[in-house]
């Protein structure tokens, strides 16, 4: 026996790690579960391991103090050898970890793995999801750039809407009454100590529960979960030739997929590079358009599209309700069919959640509700929109530009999209409607009556009357006739 083997044997004799690990590696699982559909959980763990290692490496250089954090991040990105790459791996590792956790949960829902006796495994999994999201948010704050600063302000504003204790919650979140030095150290402690410790603790419990209750069997239509007979039936599925040992039969697929996950992270880091930083965290630089990281873009979109009177209720009630419902899932549907073909409601709900997340995230990327803050001064008026126009109409084109109308309205596809495009505004609104819309505003448009002189209004409307979509005659009458006194009400087509 070589010296190395003798040392290993000595350690094993004293520690007994191999002996205690052996039953875990050898535990029997249903043969069909040694599948690539079951690899997302281990992939998420792999991504977590990548995060832990790269996080420790980044902490060697990063300074968690508000006056130095941004500079240390710049140093990490541009001076420290391979710092940019490690930042990239950590940033993309976070995205991939979130993706793996989502995929794992989707697979669990499709396979109904939350049913008896794995209710607690699911509940712990939901807590793990919350920890993962918490890591993503706190990590974004640690960049301590412009987006992080204003993102934290958005988070504080949301928390500040809680009735009665909102301000106190904001002060706890920020470590004081305003975003400053205490806020960053607080988020550093959360990101580096509190949440990872919770995550690892919960992960250990999650794995213990998987070992205790076994890997969820492959669902078969017609085979119902009966709490009285389930464990006995499960034992039959892992006995003898019907079961296979986790190591190496299932583990090899986990290893292959986990390696692919690492490849993807490395590729993203190498090709796309690190995420941020954006501008410095100077609140005095207000020429900024804060955007959250991808995971929170859907929330960003929802906050723009909700009717204002529903916002506070949505902010306060929906997250609590959603987390409560997630936790309640195995208690609402703890037995019965597991096969997806027999659970259409579950699949429809899952599909709707996924579609909503994707659609709102995409909307968050394009954010058509955000004004183009520089469109009024930086976007030219198309030549064909001013060619051959009268002096009055040209004056109106200037008013349109100078009054920041382009920030919300586009011409020939250029400009904001918060309001409707103006290319054919004359084809859908009469002169009187245009005047009224400009003076009084409507919907998402402010009233300009107080800022425009009558000649400016006349010029602006004259120009708008020339925007008829290329040949369509300007509208002479309202598309909907005003209601007669005492008759049914009808709204003119303004403000669309």
């Amino acid at each position: 026996m070589s010296r190395l083997k003798r040392i290993a044997a000595w350690i094993e004799d004293r520690l007994g790690l191999g002996k205690s690990m052996q039953p875990m590696m050898d535990h029997q699982i249903p043969r069909r579960t040694a599948s690539f559909f079951y690899v997302f959980g281990s992939a998420a763990m792999t991504a977590l391991a990548v995060q832990l290692v790269t996080g420790v490496m980044l902490a060697l250089v990063y300074v968690p103090a508000a006056d130095m954090a941004y500079d240390s991040l710049l140093h990490l990105t541009f001076v420290q050898p391979l710092g940019w790459f490690l930042r990239g791996v950590h940033g993309w590792g976070s995205n991939v970890m979130v993706a793996c956790v989502f995929l794992h949960m989707i697979q669990v829902v499709i396979f109904a793995a939350y049913k008896y006796p794995r209710e607690l495994t699911w509940v712990v999994g939901v807590l793990l999801l919350l920890c993962t999201v918490g890591m993503a948010f706190t990590g974004q704050v640690l960049r301590w750039d412009s987006d992080a600063y204003w993102g934290l302000g958005i988070g504080a504003s949301i928390m500040g809407r809680i009735p009665f204790i909102g301000p106190e919650v904001v002060h706890v979140l920020l470590g004081g009454p305003i975003i400053g030095g205490e806020a960053l150290t607080r988020f550093f402690a959360l990101h580096v100590f509190v949440i990872p410790a919770s995550l690892i603790g919960l992960l250990v419990v999650h794995l213990m529960l998987v070992l205790k209750n076994g890997v969820n069997e492959w669902p078969i239509a017609g085979r119902r979960v009966d709490k009285k007979t389930y464990r006995e039936n499960y034992e039959k599925q892992v006995e003898g030739k019907r079961g296979v040992p986790f190591w190496p039969v299932a583990a090899k697929k986990d290893m292959i997929f986990s390696a692919c996950v690492i490849f993807v992270i490395l590729l993203c880091a190498a090709i796309i590079g690190p995420i941020g930083p954006s501008g410095p965290p100077d609140p005095g630089i207000i020429d900024t358009e804060p955007r959250p990281d991808f995971l929170f873009l859907s929330l960003f979109a929802v906050m723009a599209l909700l009717p204002p009177h529903l916002e506070t209720a949505f902010i306060l009630i929906v997250p609590v309700l959603a987390i409560g419902l997630l936790i309640a899932v195995p208690f609402l549907s703890g037995d019965g069919e597991k096969h997806w073909s027999r659970r259409p409601v579950a699949l429809i709900v899952l599909g709707l959640v996924v579609i909503n997340f994707v659609v709102f995230s995409q909307l968050g990327v394009t954010s058509p509700w955000s004004p183009e803050m520089k469109a009024w001064s930086g976007t030219p008026t198309p030549v064909e929109y001013v060619e051959g126009r009268t002096p009055l109409e040209l004056q109106g084109a200037l008013v349109l530009q100078n009054m920041q109308c382009r920030n919300c309205h586009s011409l020939d596809g250029e400009g904001g999209r918060r309001g409707p495009a103006l290319d054919a505004v004359a084809a859908r609104m009469t002169e009187n409607q245009l005047i009224r819309q400009v003076l009084q505003g409507h919907g998402n448009m402010p009233a300009y009556g107080g800022h425009l002189s009558p000649p400016e209004v006349t010029a602006l409307v004259s120009f708008l009357r020339t925007l008829n979509g290329g040949g369509i005659r300007p509208r002479a009458r309202p598309s909907i006739m005003p209601a007669k006194p005492g008759g049914p009400s009808a709204a003119p087509d303004v403000g669309r």
């Binding site: 009454p177 975003i179 410095p280 005095g284 900024t288 804060p290 960003f300 920041q404 402010p446 009233a447």
Partner: protein
Amino acid sequence: MTEPQNEAPDGMPAECSECEGGQTRRGFLFKLGVGMQALAGTLLALPLVGYAFSSFLEKDSRKWVGLGEAEGFEKGSTRLVNYVNPVRVPWSGTSGTDIPCWVRTKKDGSFQVFAINCAHLGCPVRFFDESQLFMCPCHGGVYYADGSRASGPPPRGLFEYQTKIENGELMIFAGRLPTLHESA
């Protein structure tokens, strides 16, 4: 020290000379241990909770800070001015020290000072002199020059600081992030 030899199967003495009124020394020590642990844990937890949630006990820490000579602000204008945050720590850096606000000087020389944060979700609003509007780049909230809500998702007008003129200097009462239930 000798242990009772005649133990029952559950580990507790079946009979002993130390038993008084059904209480054993071992049982008493166990209860004492639990009690002391609870006391020690509580004594440890109280300052921990107090430390982490000290902001619940904090009084209003805002202070009056100067924005500059009142005469220096042009009547009828709205300007972006940075003030030094009175609630800061030595390592706050720019992010916690130089806070911007919008100073509106009315035609009659009186002032309105608005927080930079949109009343919707706290993004920085920008003022456009030509249209006399504040616009928010995040969700498109718009406010009139007097800070009142013009359009978009904000549930109210811009947050406004208390102002006063002291020794010819325009001052605001500042030092906290305005939110829906706590103005500037």
